[in-house]
Structures are given as structure tokens and as C-alpha cells.
Amino acid sequence: MLTRRVIPCLDVADGRVVKGTRFVDLRDEGDPAELAERYAAQGADELVFLDIAAAPADRGPLLDAIRRTAGRAFVPLTVGGGVRRVADMRRVLRAGADKVSLNTAAVEDPALVTRCARVFGRQAVVVAIDARRPVAVDADAGDGDGPTWEVVVRGGRQPTGLDALAWAERAVDLGAGELLVTSMDRDGTGLGFDVELLAAIGSRVGVPVIASGGAAGPADFVRAVREGGADAVLAASIFHRNRHTIGEVKAAMAAAGIAVRLGEAVAA
């Protein structure tokens, strides 16, 4: 049967993997191709490069990292950040990526999702949705008219007023082959994934849903699948510096009865 995927995410700026509290106090974690190779050897089912600088004018280092990774880590690679046109997507795929992830660009130009899917197939188009629960303005919040989760863009800095559940359905209608759902309430907190958000989106769409934001340890991955129904689970910092290995996470998932890919038949 189809296994649930464990996906390490590499935040890349100027060709290096960085980690900090999102976007500030960035700490150098190493070369993306080297880290990618290490994670693939640990059993990563896919890899995500997120270009957090997302400077369209200077994509040289990222493209180079994609090229080097494609020759060393033979698992699928998704690249997000800075893709605003079909031509950007073509460049990233030609460098060796298998999918692109569209976030702010998809919200600002929904037709971009359709154009990319038409040229490269919907399986190559991931729409990333950053969502958060609106701050309660009064005691009635929650049973009023507002959405339960709101889409935010530009790394979480800008609210859009969009209902995350409605946007998820629309993104799939537009051509998304997969959704990468990040809870901005949980991202970087280590409080676990927002399983209610995952379940709400998963029940509304027919495409795979990747959970993101909040992982602190293997038990969170189990909950994302068991309670959130996630098809894949993504995390960044918990894998850096080997705080947890991919193997540990997968072992915990397998122990909970979740189908995962454990090891490989052919030895290294």
C-alpha cells in the first residue's frame, strides 16, 4: 500500500541551508546538497528546498544546489520560493527539481497555478498554504462569520482575509496536485501540528495533503497522520544537527501501525 511520506525541509538562503526563528537570526546549517544527501541516506521520502530569500533576480546559488542535489540524492525534490512565472518553474525543473511549490504567488495570481499545471502537469504543482487562526477580537469569536483559519502570505507577515479551507478547494480546482499546509500558529513552536486544520482540509480535497509546522518529535508525526489524516509530514529544524533522525521518526510511525518505507532492499 501507499506509504506515508516523511519530508525534511531545507530553508535555503544564498545557496546555504539556514535555520533560525523564521527569517531572523539565521544560522548556517550547511550545504543543501550535502544535507539532502544525508537525509536521503537516512530514508527521506522526498526533499523540499524552500528559498526563503526568494529573490528572483538571484537564483544562481539555488539552481546550482538543485543540480548538485539531483546528482547525489535520488529522491524527489520540491522547490519553493520565488517562482512567479511559468518560465521560473521551467528553470527550476530543468535544474533537476520534480515539483514546485507556489505560495504567495498563487494567492496573488491564482491563474499561475493553472498555467503551471497545464504546461508541466498538476503532479508537478504543489500549492503551499500558510494558515493561522485569527486572533479573537471578542468573546464571540469562533461562532461568527469569519473563517476558522485565515491564509497568510509573505512568510506569515501578511494576512489575506482568505478562508484557508475555501482557498484549499480553489487551489485544487485551479490545478494543484498536492497541498502543503503549514500552521503558522504552530510553526517554530514545537507544539505539534494543527491536526484540526489538516483534517478539515483533507476532508475537502481529493489530492494528497502534506502537514507542516510544529513538529517537535516523532509522536507529532504519528498524530499528523492518525488525527490529521496527512499523506505526508514535513519538518525542518528537528532533523538538523540530528536532533531526530528520519529513521527514528519512521520507526515511531511504523510502531503506531502507519505504513512507511523502512530501509532499502539494496545495500549502499
Partner: protein
Amino acid sequence: MSERPNGHGPRVAVIDHGAGNLVSIRQGLAAVGAHPVLARRPADLLGAAAVVLPGVGAAGPAMARLRRRDLLAPLVDWLAADRPFLGICLGLQLLVDGSDEDGSAGLGVLPGRAVLLRGAPRLPHIGWNEVRLRRPHPAFARLPSPVHQYFVHSYAVEPAPGSEQLVLAETRHGRPFASAVARGRLLGVQFHPERSARDGLALLAGFVGMAATRSEDAPAATAPRPGVSARC
């Protein structure tokens, strides 16, 4: 893009029919010792020991590009001569009579159609799933059965009634579908060996090994093959 990755083994022509990632398959072939070259026109097939037809996306545009590059007839000739051939994902789906995805016609080399994976829990079918061999095959010689390989697709090849013996391996997503087909030295896989880590590279190595075998030494389509551990 005349870049030549390393590998001094058999020359393998990778058909370039437009958009998408051709880096992984070339890197994968190079990693198992082959010498991949991009093929954009008929002359590029000269001197090749094997042809790989990769691809993702829709069948119609891919067929149109192959036609525009005059590659349709050489491909059909190559397959008619039973020369070593690997079709990956869309490259497998192009071999049958047509695709339900956009109603386009395929190469018609294998009887059947590419049909939507009805009844699947989620589509596209994305991720690592079990490939279960129905019979041994030299390209799978180093792999157990079942073995996990990476999939990303919504359509799969359904052989025409009476041609079910084409199915080499099956995978289940909602219902079983043909995840590999084989006839003679034609091999088609719905998954992506170039993205399936070491177990995928082992399959590419097995295919390149087949390509390195001269045709008169090649096993007949029905001959038993040694060295396969079948756990199923």
C-alpha cells in the same frame, strides 16, 4: 545541453520531448555506469544501445513534440526491432493505443489504454508504494518483490483484453494497476526509478545490464531468468 555526465558504459539515448526534469534520469543512468545522451532528433539515436523515454504530464503535448522532432517513426522502428527500451511514467503511457486523459493517440506499440485510477483514495497517486512482480525479469534481478518505488501519476496503463500477459508487476492504490509492463526487451514502468533511491538505481542498473547484452544473447521474452528473489 550537450553536457555529458560520466559513465563509460552503454550509450543510452534519453528522449527529450519538451518540458520537465531530464536531469534525474541522466544522473541516475550515469550513476549506474551508463553513458546517457539527450536525443532531440533521429540522428541522436545512432550508436545508442538503449532508449529511455521519460516524462510526466499529459500525453497529447508529448506526442505532438515527438512528431515535431521526427522521433515518432524512429521510436516505432526501435520498438519493432525489440531493441532495449525503458519507458518511464508518461513514457510508458505513450506506448499504448491512447490516453483517456486528453483523448490523444499513443504510439500503439502495446494494445491498451492509459486510464484514470478510479477508486483511488487520493489522486494524484504520489509517494512510495509496493511493486509486486508477477514473474521474474532481468531488470529486477537485484530487487526483492515487493519493493517500494516512487510514483507520481493519476493515469495507468490498462492492457487490452487478451494482453494481460504484458503486465510484469502490479501495485495497489484503491485497486491494483499495472506498475510495470514488459515484452521482449521493452520495459515500461509507471514509477520513477530515477527518484526511487538505491532500489530505483538497482532497477536502472538491471536495465542497463540488459542493454549491454547483445540481442542474440538476450533471453527470449518467456525464458526463465536467474537471480531473482521473489518474496511474494
